[in-house]
Structure formats: structure tokens, C-alpha cells
Symmetry: C2
Subunit: 215 residues, 2 copies
DNA sequence: TTGACATACGAACGTTTGTTCGATACAAAC
DNA sequence: GTTTGTATCGAACAAACGTTCGTATGTCAA
């Protein structure tokens, strides 16, 4: 009856991580049960405690080995931009918006990413500290650094930080609040709409309400 | 030993609603227990089921009788603006930002409001539908209407909706993600910083990165 | 004083929760 | 073939969960 060999390598562990991330993003930590995770992963109930000692550590591991890795991937386009010697402020914003909304991850992965992040933004748990210190702060610093290199006239770091946060709040929101956005705009998150969103965020971040429409 | 009379009017009910809202905002629905709520409210465990039939209905009632009422209050300044016959796009944005970040509610109430909202933005529960249909959509419509009356040249409704969502995402984020914002900026949410945030959002929404600094 | 009514209380219910533990099955090493 | 180590399994645990129910205590009208 049993198809899988017992010496599975890390196959079961990985499957549990996958399903755990999916369910944690969808429902939040407390709404998900260990039985739900292991059942979805086709694993035994006790597998969570065997591979991750306990539920809380599994949650932490989701961030350490899944979320962080994806955060690095999403930072990559900006790092590549940093290598170039000519780029504009628009390049920076567009690259950022594209990385979060239309990068090479799947749509589901992006939503997961933002949902998990937004769930941790409110409290001050250990996961939040990891997420903020290891991902958010370096990301903000990078964006500010890029702007300082390409803006025609210098701006205060404090102002640039706030602007970076404003843009960040938008890409986060347009990802994790999809039901709300779809309801207000009446649009589905198809390729066309996502491209429009990238354009909008770029435009808005550059010129605000007074910006020219590029589309 | 008992100080409160048994015929309490709705005092116990109200106390439970208060503590329930506070705890739901802080921890989320599933992380809060009925015992925790009633204990914080100084009420009996069974009081929740007596006054609200069950936990889920208590959660719904928090939104119906607390959250909605506050949402109306926060819309008020914009409705007053609508009565005037002269106002600028800056007035609209500043009034909106001020209502969410520095209105006459307490700082804690504003954070609660945004935390509860952000928790419901991700899923499609019944509470979300209530929140979106009864509060968010009318709010967006109002903002778009105001802009259409005062902008020098007409803009497409779709563009204005996206801009309204962008501003909304910022005021929401700067409220519910206070730990993250404080960590990145190194600032506490004192009066001065909140005023700076209102200025920033207004400025950013009007001119984006290219905006003049008014401060 | 009595009755009806609303609220609060104590105590328990059945279920679900995360976790534990010993037994079992398999692969690789000796 | 035996041993060793890793992974899975079945079964159970104690604790915590939301909920229920009968009773007690108060208020107010008759």
C-alpha cells in the first residue's frame, strides 16, 4: 500500500513546508491546524513534530527557507539595476513595482508572499524582526541608494525613506488585498491589469495626481 | 463581593465589545479566545454566548457596531469638504490623510481600525463584503467625485480609482504597520511624526518623487 | 409580597488542539 | 545476516477550545 520509501530524503519535509506556507498565507497561523497541513501534504500527523519539532518552528521555517529566498529573488532586479551606470528614477520605481507585481514568480507565489508579510507587519513577533531586519530594511536602503544616484537634485534621506515606504505599501496592498482591489475596480488580476498597475504605480510615484498618463 | 447589579442594561455587552475589538485587532480572530475576552471585560465566560449567541457573531458585531461607526466618522471631514464650493485636490488628499492618521480619534482607535481592516482585506469572508460594500466603495466613490469637481483637467475614472486605492493603501499601511515603519524610519508615532506623515502623503500623492518639499 | 423577566453565575459538556511515545518499516553499512 | 540510523505510523495524551444548561440573583411591575 505504501508507495513512498521510508528514507525519503527531505521530500516529506519539503511537501509540508509547501502546504504550510500556502495555508498559513491563506488563513493565518492560528486558523491552520497541524492536521490540516500534514493531511494536505500527504504526510503523517506526527511528521511536523518530527521534522520541525513543533508548529511554531514550522512557521518560522516557512519564513526562513521559503519567504526569505523569494524576497532575495524579488530584490535581484534592483541589484542588477545598481550594476548599471545609467538609470533613471523611473527605472527604479518601475523595476520595483514589476518585481512585486509582475516578476517571474507565479501570481500565487506573489500573493502568498505579500499575505505572509502583511500578517507579520502588525505585530512585533520574532518572525517580524527577521522579516524586517533581513529583508525590509536592506530593501529600503537599496532603493534610497539608487535614487540618490540618479535623482537630478538631492533629497533628504528621510523623505526618500517615506517615499520608499509609500511605494512599498502600494505593491504590498495591490498583492494582498486583491479581493478589495478587484471589487473596487471591477477588474480581474489578468496580465493586462497587472501591467496597468505597474504603470500606475510608476506614474503615481513619479508625478502623483498631476502625472501625465503614459498609457 | 459583586459590585455590579445584575440588570446591567447593556454595560456588560458594551465592555465585551470593547475588549473583543481590541483583542481581535491585536491578535486576529483565531488567536483570541472567548475566555480571554470575557476575562478582560470582567464578565462571565458564558456572557459572550448570552449576548452574542456565539464567538463568530461577536466578531461580526464588532464590525457592525464599532468599526462601521468609526468609518463613518472618518468619512465625515470629506463629506464636509463636499459641501463647500471651493476646494483643491490637495485639500481632498490632505483631508483624507488627516482623517486616517490624525483625526479626532485616539491613536489606538486608528490603529485598531486599520488592523481590523487589513486582516479582512485578504480573504472574502462575510465581514469583508460588509466592509468593502458599505464602507470602502462609498469612500472611493466620494474621493473620485471630489477630484472630478476640482481637478483642472478631467481624468479617467479608472485612473482616479487607482490613485484613490494607492492613497488608501498608504494610510492603511502607515497605521497598521507601525512597528515596521518605526523600525525603518527610526521614528516614534508622536504628533510631530504623524504630521510629517500627513504632509508626506499629501505631497507624494500630488507630485510624487518630483514634488516640492513643503516642510 | 408576589410574579415575570433579564442577567450573571458555576459547572460541565463534547470536540479539537498540539504534542508525545513506542512500535514498525525501510535503506545503507558492516 | 546483523546492526544502525532515519523516517513513518498508530494511538494516545493532557490541555484548551466554544458552547450549553440549570440555577441563582438581581430589577421592575402588578
Amino acid at each position: 500500500m505504501k508507495l513512498e520509501p521510508h528514507n525519503n530524503g527531505d521530500a516529506t519535509r519539503e511537501r509540508i513546508l509547501d502546504e504550510a506556507e500556502r495555508l498559513f498565507a491563506q488563513k493565518g497561523y492560528d486558523a491552520v491546524t497541524v492536521r490540516e497541513i500534514t493531511s494536505a501534504a500527504g504526510a503523517h500527523l506526527a511528521a511536523v513534530n518530527y521534522h520541525f519539532s513543533n508548529k511554531e518552528n514550522l512557521y518560522l521555517e516557512v519564513f526562513r527557507s521559503r519567504w526569505m529566498q523569494r524576497a532575495l529573488k524579488m530584490r535581484q532586479p534592483l541589484l542588477e539595476l545598481e550594476q548599471r551606470d545609467d538609470f533613471t528614477a523611473e527605472d527604479v520605481v518601475r523595476t520595483l513595482a514589476r518585481a512585486f507585481l509582475a516578476g517571474d514568480l507565479t501570481a500565487e507565489q506573489r500573493q502568498r508572499h505579500s499575505l505572509l508579510a502583511s500578517r507579520e507587519m502588525g505585530n512585533q513577533s520574532g518572525v517580524f524582526k527577521l522579516l524586517a531586519q533581513e529583508s525590509m530594511v536592506p530593501f529600503m536602503d537599496l532603493v534610497v541608494r539608487l535614487w540618490q544616484r540618479c535623482l537630478p537634485r538631492p533629497m533628504a534621506v528621510e523623505s526618500l525613506e517615506l517615499i520608499a515606504l509609500s511605494i512599498f505599501s502600494q505593491v504590498l496592498y495591490f498583492n494582498f488585498a486583491r479581493p478589495a482591489v478587484s471589487l473596487v475596480t471591477g477588474r480581474e488580476y489578468d496580465t493586462e491589469f497587472v501591467e496597468q498597475l505597474v504603470d500606475h504605480i510608476t506614474n503615481f510615484a513619479l508625478h502623483g495626481l498631476n502625472g501625465d498618463e503614459t498609457q
